[in-house]
């Protein structure tokens, strides 16, 4: 129990410091550094999305990862065309379920 509390405290304090320190020193952050950090942030979110799809697990169907890749790609195409997040979610989840059913029938 002590291990859990100490680990959570360390990550908690570290995470607060990550967020707080650059903002407290906001006046000293040069524009190019801030711009590059924006690209780094965007890159991390892109990587989180890619990893989330590649690590997708669904024991109920074969080819769970390819099905997830196609569903997410299809849904994000709608995001590129300016559709809202709820439409993207509905299409992504709907196409995943539909493709899962088709794959389940074929294999």
């Amino acid at each position: 129990m002590t291990t859990t509390v100490v680990a959570l405290l360390l990550v908690g304090f570290g995470s607060v410091a990550y967020r707080l320190l650059p903002l407290l020193g906001a006046a000293r952050v040069p524009e190019p550094v801030s711009r590059t950090a924006g690209w780094a942030g965007m890159s991390v979110i892109t990587a989180v999305v890619v990893r989330g799809v590649l690590h997708h697990r669904d024991d109920s169907i074969p080819w769970a990862v390819p099905v997830a890749v196609v569903s997410v790609a299809l849904a994000l195409t709608l995001a590129v065309r300016g559709r809202g997040v709820l439409v993207v979610l509905a299409v992504g989840a709907g196409s995943y379920l539909a493709l899962s059913a088709v794959v389940g029938l074929l294999v």
Partner: protein
Amino acid sequence: MTQVDVVTRRKGGELAAGAHAMAPMLVAFAPFGLLVGAAVAASESPAAAWLSTWTIYGGAAHLAVLDVLQRDTGVLGAALVGLLINARMVAYSVSLAPYWRESSVGSRVAAAAVLTDATWALAHNRAEATARARRRFYFGAGVTLWFGWPTLVTLGVVVGRWVQDVPVAALLPSLTLGTLVVPQLRTRPGLAAGAAAATVAVCTAGMDGGVALALSAAAGATTAALVHGRKA
């Protein structure tokens, strides 16, 4: 309408616009929040794990720390995993800095408290707004998530286990975050950053999350800076 009315309405407008933009994200993050709640309930110290929702304030890091602790790998291993995954907050905070230079220390502390992926990305996508309007929008979105996310985690403590049996629910955070990234791909440096980060993410899929994310960030930022430099 007096000038004061106009200013008050605009203030409320930006705050409300931020809250309005975050509301669908909360729906999308619901399954993930419930999963984190299930992990909190299964933790050795549920109270400490639940209170960490506000300090760690990142579902992936929170889930990873609790998962590593379940495997009994020790304090340092668990802390390192969580800190590596949440290291992206430094990039978010640094990129926000120019918009908070004129703000009070209290405002900056509050901004840091509500900073996470969705809040940052929504504010970052609002490039055309003034710094003041962006800050209000940011607070509208941030405060909504700051109350909404812990509520989802708390619900997950009670009913989170059933979400683990619905595989499609695990895809929703990826879809939501993907929607946030798309507007930033419309510039050439943004597109270059996204392509480089996605390529590195595919190549490092088998690696530990924190290290892989750091490599993707480095690749994306470097490629975007090169493209930006060539354009200039």
